[in-house]
Symmetry: none
Subunit: 641 residues, 2 copies
Amino acid sequence: MVEMPKMRKKGTISEEDVSALLQRYTPTAVLALLQEVAQLPDVKIDWNALVNKTSTGISNAREYQMLWRHLAYGHALLEKLEDGAQPLDDDSDLEYDLEAFPSISTEASAEATACVKVLIASSLPSDSSLPNISMVEAPLTINIPCGQSSRAPSENSRLSGSMQGTNITIPVSVQKSEGFDANGSTSGSLPARKKRKPWSEAEDDELIAAVQKCGEGNWANILKGDFKGDRSASQLSQRWTIIRKKRKNLNVGGASSNGSQLSEAQLAARHAMSLALDMPVKNLTTSSSIAGTNPNATSSNSAFPATPAEALPAGTNISQAQQLSQQGPVSTLSRMGSLGSAPKSRVTSKKTSAKSTFSSQSTLKETAVAVGARIATPSTAASLLKDARSRNAVHIMPGGSTLIKSSASGGANPLPANHLGAHPNVHYKCAGPPTTSLSTYPAVAPSVSRTGSAKPAAPGVQLAPSPSATSVNMSSEQTNAATSSLAVEYPAKQETKTSEETKVPISGNVPKAKVLEDQACVSSNTASEQVQEDQATLSNTEVVLKNQKAMVSDAKCSLKTETAENDEATIISGEVAESQNVNDNKIMDFPVTGECENQSAANENSGNQNTNEKQTDLPNTATDCGEKSDEVLYKATAGEI
Amino acid sequence: MVEMPKMRKKGTISEEDVSALLQRYTPTAVLALLQEVAQLPDVKIDWNALVNKTSTGISNAREYQMLWRHLAYGHALLEKLEDGAQPLDDDSDLEYDLEAFPSISTEASAEATACVKVLIASSLPSDSSLPNISMVEAPLTINIPCGQSSRAPSENSRLSGSMQGTNITIPVSVQKSEGFDANGSTSGSLPARKKRKPWSEAEDDELIAAVQKCGEGNWANILKGDFKGDRSASQLSQRWTIIRKKRKNLNVGGASSNGSQLSEAQLAARHAMSLALDMPVKNLTTSSSIAGTNPNATSSNSAFPATPAEALPAGTNISQAQQLSQQGPVSTLSRMGSLGSAPKSRVTSKKTSAKSTFSSQSTLKETAVAVGARIATPSTAASLLKDARSRNAVHIMPGGSTLIKSSASGGANPLPANHLGAHPNVHYKCAGPPTTSLSTYPAVAPSVSRTGSAKPAAPGVQLAPSPSATSVNMSSEQTNAATSSLAVEYPAKQETKTSEETKVPISGNVPKAKVLEDQACVSSNTASEQVQEDQATLSNTEVVLKNQKAMVSDAKCSLKTETAENDEATIISGEVAESQNVNDNKIMDFPVTGECENQSAANENSGNQNTNEKQTDLPNTATDCGEKSDEVLYKATAGEI
DNA sequence: CTTTAGGGGTAGGGTTGG
DNA sequence: TCCAACCCTACCCCTAAA
């Protein structure tokens, strides 16, 4: 279809041309194309290959070629291209000599040149990004070898002209370049540009790399520094969610594994990584030293936390020292919670819980480092714990009972994982305040059997945080423990269902009751919150958790667990407490608690009795829970008592 | 599926390893993983959580774990992982000791180390900014060890190829620069904006409690003494405005909408609120005493008012006396008036009023706490108060009766659970502030039976907390305890359903009623607010909470409750209080409380009685509550009075 | 010190083109 | 129809001036 473009060899490019060009393509796209072409090792151009990798947003090889030719040789830009249009044969694509075009302002060309140079010089794949560079400055003073420039042609024409000479002063260039781009000031054509521009792989890679570097959410920074394409922060954000989603789907396989095609950027990254990895070792050593220093300081890192962001809830941590860090950790957990959906996962958590305890941030860092390093000495760990402790230890536990156990005993962790029914639920986490520890637990009581006696798993469960502040929490927890015993009992008969984030209504059918319960405890500060989630579920009716993770368990499941556990209901509770962790973020939403509620089930049991104290505790514990939870607690309590 | 990885403990990492690793994962991914792990606060690792938030691109927890282990301990990287593969249990994740690996070239390692350091140090993910400098670093001047090249497998080939000879400065550098730099800000580090951290429910609770205690606007004080999280004063202020806003919406909106029923819910809430409000008064006093003065000044009220927003200025009432007891009522009333807007609600109040009467704020709090907790022993309570005070301790209990019992006497509590229906309800959680503990409880009273006697667990309940600040809370709790006894009774007949965040209407099916209740206690600080929410729920039919967890109860329930309550407003209050718990998060919205309200069911029982003191407490407890709560409280109070 | 305005960032809903 | 790419609106959080 398209007919061959006419050459306009050696002609100059007029402003009209530019204007038209910019109406159709963004400056960045144009620059990207130039860069891409410039980077090609061979003279011969494989248009199809280029298009596959381009970050210009152009998906049609013919179109890509056409643009190139327009830029390089002044060929006309055709209005339409047929979908399947294939690139034209080109013998000479790079053979034409082009002369600089006077028409363009020297400055403009110079700038453009600079940009191009920078891009090329940097070798950064990114390309587009001019903007970034823009900021660059003097350093940029790059001299582009003639060779290249020549190649770069095109627009270069505009640019090229300038380039060749020698060097372009960088700064200017950058700035200007943008000008160009963005506004197109040059041409002035702003008109619309809205065309929808699919994300190219290159852009995705760039985004991914940027996110890894800067962290999720820091779109502004990414935009400023790392991401070259012309996308807005919100677009980045939006795209990121898509990428994330995709990955998950993919991942199964192993995300990364594919490998096959890696972009250069990736390769480069790997390269770097390899170095980095190696480092670790050294780091350790070093790190320690280093760590010593900065880490803490930095620690602030909050940044990191960022990642975790979610989690943290609690401010608790802070308490202490804050200074340092604190934070971070939590988040993760919390997330987990959310993740929760996957019950099984929890399992891990179990351990965690028991263990989780420690870690401190600072420590963490070190540890991490160490880890990275492969370090990890116990001592280290210990230290971590101290600090960390505060952190979070969240856990989730799905199968409910299971978790519990683990937590309880500590060692064991059975976690059977699963189970038929399943159901996991939750858990938590707590963010402990700094020193505090927390412990909370929810107890779940499945229907029917229940053990009756509960006992407190307490001992095991408990932690002994000590710090004064903590103390409170401690007490609570302990209390809880006691309570838990009570709680434990629950018999529940109900059926509970939990849904996770989803919303599941149960209503209609509700049967009778079931109950669940939990007891959560929370450590003082933070802990509480989380609990909620755990439970959840009961619903005789229907409960749903929309937001997060709800936990559901079938009635049976829960029951089962409990049953087994009965004795240890306590423990369970404990877990619940942990749930608290949940809090974090969004989680909070939930209400988990509500779910907890399930508790209602507890009610049914009614048989329980409580001791005052214990009960009290529970409540305390409960505190965090969502509404439902409370009920449960109550019930539980009652029962116990 | 996957088998366990072998350890390669203490082994060194070979180039081959690196090579293989890089073929599979990008350097950035590896670094990201290291960073992420490093950031974890706890020793225990929640792989699922990590995966959810990771920026490595790895979506499978097992894979993530595997990579970590490979990096940290030299475990083998398995080729395939099943989709659903869950992370392995890890007890030892951080326990292995690893040694540095000689194999790597010094240079390389050094560099890597540097990189890692930077990453960690900077910890900031983001931030970053400034790339400018990315190039910076001389350090970058990396020499690539041969090793790498080897490593760099094919793809890299290109890169690597070039690189090999000596080193390539460039590429590497670039990479580094990017990666590192960014963070790196080490050096340059920009301020990097701190990542935004959403407020958790626990934090909200804590804030609410703190405001109640210290008054609105005294952010600095709150920061010093009560609020544990790491938030700045301005953030507190800002958040407070948001919380206040939400409450209003809730109140109003919710209430209004349904009309009749809601109103009740609202009423209940109000009731609670009233109590809460009252508390303030006392608090003030107390505080004043404590503080000395201020109370008025602080007016802490302001805080209160907030809630009530509408009305009252009255808060003022508070003024005085408070110290202990008393008072509360008045203020309440006044507020009520204001609340007035909702006529019906008032009604409820009536009931309340009668009973509600007593308690003084401080007392209230304590009591409340106690109640919630069921704690009961004074000593305990006291301790709690101290700690908790700040914290939160709220609880809710649905199933009501049961809980109650427990709380109350400690033993007695009849609370039969009841229920046929089940119900759950819920609860809470608390996040305690650091030191604080919290305890809360909700009591639930199931329908019908109830025990009747409640008694005050008082003795136990009371605490005498002393610390000034704390005191308030303490008192509440104690009070509650006492209350609880009373409360306990509730019989409820309703059926309640809860939905969690979701919206589930229950309506249709509802069966009988059950009741729940809770008594929540709140720890001093926080508690109140929450209450509000609870109420809302009531609607017979279906209430849904969209945001969070809503609780629903049938209309009947609610109604019933009220009735019941009359006598014992206290109880209700208690419940209300619990509701408070609800607050938390978004919840505040309500919901929970609402459910609590359901408790109203409790009302039905009516049989309850309260002791003044106890009642009072409730109010205190209520203090926090949302508007609705307030109403309730008021009513209670009135009655009492 | 507190409050307020502005810069971002995220979530969610709606629209539209492929 | 589904999804991706926008757009747009709320809302929230953080920071920095007021």
